[in-house]
């Protein structure tokens, strides 16, 4: 088991390094960082000056290895744009993305699993149709549009929630609903399908025959099995929410890490882009790993296998 874990860790590290190498070269290909840094109305002299100052005139391979070596030691360098250590910037922005990600995935799970279970209990009933409707709307509605609708409703017409910033938990309510709702349909439908399958199986019939109460059958016996694929999906969705919430972060002016990465790409702020990509890829790797462990705990067959 230890060898297996170590192997996986090594693999994870290699994946992270490959991702960072690809990002590094792609950002470089997207345009000369000196031009981006010098701003839109920079003269030749300004651009050359910045090239020299930051060492952009050196070969790209040299620049990459220098970065990788420092990053390995935990030093992500200074942001070209903000002139402050990238680590400080990340420490400031990551908590915002984490809070949003955790609250959104919780919202999605709390909404979609009960809905999925309810829908599976009475397939093709009004309730099932309603759940399906909610999921179809969630999938079809562009999240930026939904966000703006919520802003108009709860900030302009009935000013209940703040629209921008991340100072209090109230600031996270609207973004959580938007981001969480986006993930709801997939989780809900997977739960419904899983539950339908499980509820039709022999051991549930046996459980019913034994006279077990409905809630014990549903939540103790059926859901535990139906939810296995949902765990993997939720882990991937969570990873996506951390890094992919750029639009939401931008609309609600949350200034999280996703938005930071997006903006940094535009300004060719290589150290920041690199660090964020590395951190997010590590998150993904850890999440996948954790979801495997969780699945193994839920399903003894995986443990044995």
């Amino acid at each position: 088991m230890l060898v297996y874990t170590l192997k996986r860790l090594l693999l994870a590290l290699l994946v992270a390094m490959t991702v960072s190498a690809i990002t590094f070269s792609l950002t470089y290909l997207a345009g000369d960082p000196a031009i981006a840094m010098a701003g839109e109305t920079a003269s030749d002299a300004d651009i050359e000056y910045i090239e020299k100052l930051y060492g952009f005139d050196r070969p790209i391979v040299v620049q990459y290895f220098e970065w990788a070596l420092n990053a390995f030691q935990g030093d992500f360098g200074q942001s070209f744009y903000f002139r402050i250590p990238v680590a400080d910037l990340l420490l400031e922005r990551l908590p915002v993305s984490m809070t949003l990600g955790v609250s959104a995935i919780s919202f999605a799970i709390l909404l979609s699993i009960p809905l999925g279970v309810l829908a599976a209990m009475r397939p093709n009933s009004l309730l099932d149709r309603l759940a399906l409707g909610i999921s179809v709307v969630g999938q079809a509605m562009p999240s930026f549009w939904f966000a703006l609708v919520l802003i108009v409703m709860f900030a302009v017409w009935y000013p209940v929630f703040p629209t921008t910033g991340s100072e209090t938990w109230l600031h996270f309510v609207l973004p959580t609903i938007v981001l969480g709702y986006y993930a709801t349909p997939a989780i809900m439908r997977l739960t419904r399908t899983g539950m339908l399958e499980v509820l039709g199986s022999d051991y549930i019939r046996t459980a019913r025959a034994k006279g077990l109460p409905q809630h014990v059958i549903l939540f103790k016996h059926a859901l535990r099995n139906a939810v296995i694929p949902v765990v993997s999906l939720a882990a991937v969705q969570f990873g996506f929410m951390l890094g992919g919430s750029i639009v939401i972060e931008s609309i609600f002016a949350l200034h999280g890490a996703g938005y930071l990465a997006w903006e940094s790409i535009g300004r060719n702020d290589l150290p920041v882009v690199q660090a964020v990509v590395l951190v997010f890829s590590l998150f993904y790797i850890v999440l996948t790993f954790l979801s495997d462990l969780l699945n193994a705990w839920l399903d003894p067959r995986i443990r044995v296998g």
């Binding site: 109305t41 002139r83 609309i251 200034h255």
Partner: protein, 505 residues
């Protein structure tokens, strides 16, 4: 069920009571401004964005100030100034000025600032702003001389805008990083809080000069927040949580105006759009080397129609390679009004009766670019369109891979053609015309102090550029400002909002 209802009612009550009070604006004497861009550093020598200029004007003063109405240079920290010779400026300073931290402002601070920024090792981001300075010398406590490397008539423009005076004692202690976090200036507003990229808070500086050209600030507090999404900014403005925003797109400005909740004011800006064409054949053998082809392109595009339908506001068609108010901007040049028949005839004369195809790039205003593509195709020119990020496109131009592009230039709000025409036509990397005569004339204008001689030289150069159709100048840009009905605010054409002149109605 009853329990559930009671719990819900309690929860909603808790929710409502926890809501933070909306920022009140006029009621608590706080002007809430929002903009889109994350400012990299509050220290004005280490940012390049226009928002940085706004921050600088609020927080710091320079030796001179350019009056936005008359465009004259008037003394600010200086009491008076004079040219001693072509390369020496002498400033007599006001007495009794202080910085926000109480440090006295005198010749030592001016000399320190000028000598510090003139040294390339200082890392000042926009070198153009400072690389004309040779050194500064203190004559006595309130007299300073600034020596130029060579005659540079546009120096006053930079003295008035780009070289804010820093407190010597404080800055030598904290450096750029300290200044970025806890800025100290001598301008009308002092910064009390900075959250990098997100928020800046100013308070009125009570010790500010009373009879200066920037006036006396009246609004007590200014809070700036960065909101990347324009629609959110509008929602904030409509709900009263923001008092001021800018760069509102024309269609949204119309709707906002009709709501009656806010004021909309439109103002032209120094930024102009242009099409640059590879006349020198830098990218290879293109049809653009032929002046007839460049003229045909100029006649083919209906700039007036694009301005009226898309650019709108106070924008106008420009015919010369500069913004009309800039010193030396000759507007009596060859003009190319929309005339597709003439364009076709010129193409035929040049040997392209069926047109040709060419790579055409842009980095902003995709809709304007697409309108131009359409006009070009009507005379038979098939443009292969590429839409890139600014840095990528500029890189491509400088690597000689772009025969034709729709670009824009804001002249860093400098009211002198040396900030635009001389930048593009003196054989630098952005010059696709490489005309030696134009270069010679522009350099003459750039280095002569006599304004009549300068004007003459620039006029000849601009006439030549238009006559040869090296560029097709397109239009000036405009900005829509939207602000609360409580605010009295007047925008200026240099696109630098001056909140120190704003007041409550």
């Amino acid at each position: 069920m009853k329990k559930f209802l009671a719990a819900s009612a309690l929860a909603s009550l808790a929710l409502v009571s926890a809501i933070p009070a909306a920022h009140a604006g006029k009621a608590d004497d706080t002007l809430n401004i929002v903009w889109e861009r994350e400012l990299e550093n509050v220290d004005s020598y280490f940012n390049t964005a226009r928002e940085g200029i706004i921050v600088t004007r609020l927080t710091w003063d320079g030796l001179l100030y350019r009056d936005p109405k008359t465009m004259d240079y008037v003394p600010l920290i200086a009491k008076s100034f004079k040219w001693v010779d072509d390369t020496t400026l002498e400033f007599q300073l006001r007495e009794g000025l202080t910085f926000h931290n109480g440090e006295e402002l005198d010749a030592d601070d001016v000399v320190f600032t000028y000598n510090w920024v003139a040294n390339p090792d200082s890392g000042v981001k926009t070198q153009r702003n400072v690389n004309w300075i040779k050194e500064a010398k203190k004559l006595d406590k309130y007299t300073v001389q600034v020596m130029l490397k060579e005659p540079f008539p546009a120096a006053l423009e930079f003295v008035s805008g780009s070289v804010p005076i820093y407190p010597q004692d404080y800055y030598s202690k904290v450096g750029p990083d300290g200044m970025g976090q806890k800025p100290v200036g001598s301008g009308p507003y002092k910064i009390t809080e900075v959250e990098p990229g997100r928020k800046i808070v100013w308070e009125k500086f009570d010790g500010y000069m009373k009879d200066g050209p920037k006036g006396t600030p009246t609004i007590g507090k200014i809070v700036q927040r960065t909101i990347p999404e324009r629609n959110t900014q509008i929602a904030e403005l409509l709900s009263g949580r923001a008092d001021w925003m800018w760069r509102v797109p024309a269609d949204q400005a119309d709707r906002l105006k009709s709501s009656g909740k806010v004021q909309i004011v439109n103002e032209e800006t120094f930024r102009i759009g242009y099409i640059t064409m590879d006349a020198a054949g830098i990218t290879g053998d293109t049809p653009l080397k032929n002046p007839l082809v460049r003229k045909a392109i100029s006649y083919a595009i209906d700039r007036k129609a694009i301005v009226e339908a898309l650019v709108r506001g106070k924008s106008q068609v420009v015919n010369s390679a500069c913004f009309p108010s800039q010193f030396g901007c000759e507007t009596d040049v060859t003009k190319y009004p929309y005339d597709p028949a003439k364009a076709k005839a010129l193409l035929a004369e040049a040997g392209y009766p069926d047109g040709f195809s060419i790579d055409f790039y842009a980095y902003r205003n995709r809709d304007y670019a697409e309108a131009m593509l359409n006009f070009l195709s009507q005379v038979g020119i098939k443009a292969n369109f590429g839409y890139l990020k600014y840095a990528a496109l500029r890189d491509k131009i400088r690597s000689k891979e772009v025969p034709m592009a729709f670009m824009t230039w804001g002249s860093y709000s400098i009211n002198d053609v040396s900030a635009i025409t001389s930048h593009f036509f003196t054989h630098g990397k952005d010059d696709l015309a490489l005309d030696p005569k134009v270069k010679e004339l522009l350099q003459k204008g750039d280095t002569t102090v006599d304004s009549a001689v300068r004007k003459q030289a620039y006029s000849e150069a601009l006439k030549l550029i238009a006559e040869q159709a090296y560029w097709l100048p397109l239009w000036s840009y405009n900005t829509n400002y939207a602000f609360s009905n409580d605010v009295d605010f007047t925008p200026t054409s240099d696109e630098i909002p001056r909140f120190f002149t704003a007041s409550w109605k």
